[in-house]
Symmetry: C2
Subunit: 394 residues, 2 copies
């Protein structure tokens, strides 16, 4: 993981005592200048207090800081929860000397327990004291829950002879499904962009990345993606070529982060791209890819490294998408398993079993009906996923 | 398990060598007289050869025998598969001396492997030789796949002073979701009923039983429910009172079988009824109950006996059904966990943890929005579910 600090931002992560295991659980991103901001939030009808607060505040388009805790989602905590989200933001605003309404917040962890906000307030001086341009690594650690590793991706491009940086941080390992990618993600750039432009860029990037991954099909109440632009590179994104180059970099960073979430998901051993091609329409291809990607029987077969294509076809058949079983081809990696609805035999099975031992591969279903296509990313369903989630709160 | 043999039917189950473990894998139900018949089949677009054959034949309304194998689903096997289903039926027709087109078939097991139909033909004399009125127990054993126990439920009622018997057999432990209950089920009665009346009775019974259970949300390609009526009791179901009494018995038997499927499902330790009440409409209640019942995070918490109501509420929030988080109550068994969106604290948690240790309990979500209600049955997601399905074909 090579992190490129993004000009205009400092970050930090410390231990506040919210997590029971004594690990870092409080993170801060501070903007040296007022940054443009755009956000994407969970579509779950149950929304955590920090999501409610951010929705109110992000509309101003200006952000000075983001304060994040892990270990407690501050969700289903009623009016006290909302008040605690406000207090979190106030602690950051007071410490940094910035307007309170320009501070955003995020929380992740257990739902339904009161947020011990006084621990955040007590830890804030230490958090403030450790702010640095290299602090993104600590910040990434502080927002982890069941993540196995901190996840940061950085890229740079040249726009008009100026170097533009984009650094993204993500956490998320369970409660992951499209609509909207179920996690916390913070993207920092030194490009110059209005909040409106950031919103368009972020929406397009999210559709191509976090809205195409699933771990378990469950949606969090706390999903938040925030994108901040400091403008410090003095490179604008209004010209079409600059905008396109930036969008390509953003897509690249967001897809890398999204795939990393799946790869590092709870109990995950494999990152598997489910591709459906030849569908009657893109929407039908997507519905079928999602159904295959969520199928517990497909996911346990992936864990068992078993080329059980019957389960793939059975999931395809219940997706609601048009399908003629006698026309379907299925590939595991490059190995054709099914030709026009019929299994390709023992040699194909043996070859596919080799593919399934890899960490990353694709499964392709070709319906031979039209030009519709879609691809999503999923992982295997392992014994460890069950263990992690049966014991999560103990 | 107390089995009451149903007059007009004999049954048997033997080893034919299709299953690798040497267990019984071939079953037969023979009707002493031409029985009325009705069927309900999978809604998966991928349908096994025996389902295709039965769909063609069940329309005649008359059945003389049902031959069933386990260990191989005869699905995605192309024209050869269809021909093998016909051969299975022909073996039974020839052996019993009945018209071939009045023999129905069913298969369950691995998808995509050729059915070794010659083993069925070779084993048929032994199957025929062991036919008896008490043979339902062997038949129930012969249709098992990952089921832990054979499942038979019998009931009797009086109609017009005549005793009417209903005996149902079911297999199914994975690939279980509503639409339509994912398994094989055979129901035998000695009541007198036309095929048309049987269809109506069966459709109503299925809606209240097998269409309200889920194990993993995957739908089989082979789901089949067949109901046979021999008429031997000489009791007709045309009078409204008789029909209602019979429907009540049918509902009772089908629900008992359906709940047994969930209780005996792959890796299942708990039978949990998910009730949603106070929804805006019944359909919305059902959508929410289904989402909760399928949620891997809810199901792993059930396995862990963890009263993690946040996951229940998060699943409710993504179901698409209307919900005001500040109005929601949640109960685990009789214990209120959430009152108007807020957790009820440690004492409630402790009490709920006691409920979760039981084999059977309910979870109730009250939305306080309207009069819509629904209830479905699910089980926990355990380490054994993953083990069983990772190793299924090995």
């Amino acid at each position: 993981m090579s992190i490129i600090p993004c000009p205009g931002f400092r970050a930090a992560g410390v231990v506040s005592g919210i997590k029971k295991n004594g690990r870092k659980d409080l993170g801060l991103i501070a903007c040296d200048v007022p940054a443009s901001v755009a956000g994407v939030f969970t579509r779950n009808r149950v929304q955590a207090a920090p999501v409610m607060l951010d929705r109110e505040r992000v509309g101003s388009g200006i952000c000075r800081a983001v304060i994040v805790n892990s270990g407690n989602a501050n969700c289903c905590t009623g009016e006290d929860g909302y008040h605690n989200a406000v207090r979190m933001a106030r602690a950051a605003a007071t410490g940094l000397g910035v307007p309170e309404e320009q501070v955003l917040v995020a929380s992740t962890g257990v739902i339904g327990e009161p947020l011990p906000v006084e621990r955040i307030e007590q830890a804030f001086p230490a958090l403030l004291g450790s702010l640095s341009v290299e602090g993104v690594a600590d910040f990434a650690e502080a927002i982890m829950t069941t993540d196995r590793v901190p996840k940061v991706v950085s890229r740079q491009i040249e726009i008009d002879g100026r170097r533009v940086t984009l650094t993204g941080v993500v956490k998320g390992a369970g409660m992951i499904r499209p609509d909207v990618a179920t996690m916390l993600c913070f993207l920092m750039t030194d490009a110059q962009a209005s909040a409106g432009l950031l919103r368009d860029l972020l929406a397009a990037g999210a559709a191509r990345s976090f809205n195409r991954i699933t771990v378990d099909g469950d949606t969090s109440t706390n999903d938040t993606i925030l994108m901040l632009a400091s403008g410090c590179a003095e490179a604008g994104l209004e010209p079409a070529a600059a905008r396109e180059a930036f969008q390509a970099m953003l897509d690249d960073v967001m897809l890398a982060l999204a795939k990393w979430v799946v790869k590092d998901a709870e109990g995950s051993n494999k990152l598997v791209e489910i591709r459906v091609v030849g569908a009657a329409a893109d929407g039908e291809a997507r519905a079928m890819a999602d159904t295959i990607a969520h199928s517990p029987l497909v996911k346990t077969a992936l864990f068992g490294e078993d080329a059980n294509w019957g389960r793939i076809l059975a999931a395809a058949g219940r997706s609601g998408a048009a399908l003629d079983p006698s026309q379907v081809d299925i590939f595991i990696g490059p190995v054709q398993m099914v030709s026009r609805g019929i299994g390709c035999g023992k040699a194909a099975e043996a070859a596919a079993t080799g593919v399934l031992k890899a960490d990353e591969f694709s499964i392709t279903v070709d319906l031979h009906l039209g030009t519709g296509r879609a691809a999503v990313y999923t992982c295997d369903l392992s014994i460890d996923y069950v263990k992690i989630n049966a014991d999560y709160r103990s």
